[in-house]
């Protein structure tokens, strides 16, 4: 009996890893799919938070994905493997939401909670937070900055 259960456990792990290979979801506010697996490679298309990307391969820290007819590369830190579509395939409890689904649907510490927190704490300087977040360094400017300082281009989590 024990052996059988362990086989089940092993089987479940295998199912999960196979299922994970097909789709990845964007977990950042927006993510860039690029022509090559480099941070400064030309951008092909912008994918918003929650977008489902078809994965067709991996190399190092980069996933090869397609989205809206474009195929390119996205860094692993911008996506999450999707595991919860399985239940509908296997006739499981597709109607119920898993915690992952709940989280990806935005339930949790979300804009609604932030709004209530701000209403309760009107002295919080969210105006300045937005100002700091709006500041952008253009990619070309950053590349020029690295070159001028005799620095290397980041390769990402080597």
């Amino acid at each position: 009996m024990k052996k059988k259960i362990w086989l089940w456990v092993l089987g479940l792990c295998l199912i999960s890893s196979v299922a994970a290979a097909a789709t990845v979801k964007v977990i950042t506010q927006e993510a860039m799919i690029r022509k090559d697996k480099r941070f400064f490679a030309p951008a092909l298309i912008r994918a918003p938070f929650g977008a489902a990307l078809q994965e067709s391969g991996r190399e190092g820290d980069w996933f090869k994905v397609s989205y809206q007819g474009k195929e390119g590369w996205i860094h692993k830190s911008a996506v999450q493997e999707q595991k919860f579509q399985l239940s509908s395939l296997a006739g499981g409890q597709a109607g119920e939401a898993s915690q992952d689904e709940v989280a990806l649907a935005g339930k949790g510490f979300n804009p609604e909670v932030e709004k209530a927190f701000r209403d309760k704490n009107p002295k919080m300087r969210y105006d300045l937070v937005n100002q700091v977040q709006a500041y952008r360094v253009e990619e070309q400017r950053l590349q020029a900055f690295l070159r001028a300082g005799n620095l290397r281009e980041p390769g990402g989590g080597q």
């Binding site: 950042t28 119920e96 898993s98 915690q99 510490f109 209530a116 927190f117 300087r125 937070v129 005799n150």
Partner: protein, 302 residues
């Protein structure tokens, strides 16, 4: 099924959960098991229940949730300190910081990395969850060159990478938040639930802000952030000695040679230095001194 076997099955499923991180996978497995007549309906239900409860208990904060906590922590800090408005210096700090973030182990976060200078003579640097990082004008003055400034920022990027801010949130708060969120029928939270959730959010933000502004991180967290910083610096071609030089300088200035001041409030400082120096030596990382970087540092921040 005997009691002992159920217990064993439960343990196995816990293992499966930790390996897969997904209760749904367990449900598929048990559905198949029941369909094939391997386990009874009651066992299936018991196992599924356990799997779902465990999944609820272990779900970490998502990137998006980390982002909203980080924004609130930043809003707290910015209600106490003014932003130092200097366009060229802000651009300089952001360029160094953005490059380090891309060279880090977590180049992208929900809202990305952003750097700002706080207008105070206090020497400090603070990393909010999700990637908003503040360095004070007082801390900028401590850096003697770009590589030392990069080291200070790299250390903060490492704290974001390691989610050290989130780790300071009391576990019970997050568990309670999950129990509110976990009521699957509650697609839309009711007034009382929302009020409770907001107060848990507020408590979480307080936990992080207190750690950043008052209590500080543990010696281990600081040491890990140093090691992360060394790696990020080296990947870009900055001198890893930027870290040890700046730490040594700060320690010297604060203590006047004696083991007081910063050594007293950060008892791990000497160990951190020893560890960083040994990692630099082991990797035989060179001391780099770049005239172009030194020049632009003098022009912009010197």
């Amino acid at each position: 099924m005997k009691k002992g076997t159920i217990y064993f099955a439960a343990l196995s499923l816990l293992l499966a959960l930790f390996l897969t991180g997904c209760a749904e996978v367990v449900q598929v497995g048990t559905a198949m098991g029941e369909g094939m007549g391997k386990i009874s309906k009651e066992d299936r239900e018991a196992i599924d229940r356990m799997a779902k409860q465990t999944a609820k208990a272990v779900r970490p904060m998502t990137e998006q949730e980390e982002y909203y906590v980080g924004r609130a922590v930043a809003a707290t800090i910015l209600s106490r300190y003014r932003i130092y408005s200097n366009e060229r210096l802000t651009a300089y700090v952001n360029s160094i910081g953005q490059a380090l973030a891309l060279a880090s182990d977590r180049p992208y976060t929900f809202g990305g990395y952003h750097f700002a200078i706080l207008d105070t003579e206090e020497a400090n640097a603070l990393a909010c969850p999700g990637g908003m990082i503040f360095i004070t004008r007082g801390m900028l003055k401590k850096a003697q060159n770009e590589d030392q400034l990069a080291a200070i920022l790299a250390h903060e990027v490492a704290h974001v990478n390691h989610k050290d801010g989130l780790a300071s949130i009391q576990k019970s708060r997050w568990m309670e938040a999950l129990s509110i969120l976990g009521s699957e029928t509650a697609r839309k939270l009711g007034g009382a639930e929302m009020t409770k959730l907001v107060s848990l959010f507020e408590g979480s933000v307080d936990d992080v802000a207190k750690t950043l502004l008052v209590n500080g991180y543990s010696r281990e967290q600081e040491m890990e952030a140093d090691l992360g910083a060394l790696a990020f610096l080296n990947r870009l071609g900055y001198s890893p000695y930027g870290l040890t030089d700046s730490l040594e300088k700060m320690a010297r200035e604060q203590t006047g040679g004696s083991k007081q001041g910063i050594f007293a409030t950060h008892p791990g400082m000497d160990q951190r230095l020893t560890k960083s120096k040994s990692v630099i030596a082991q990797n035989q990382w060179p001391r780099r001194d770049d005239p172009a970087r030194n020049r632009r540092f003098r022009e912009l921040a010197g």
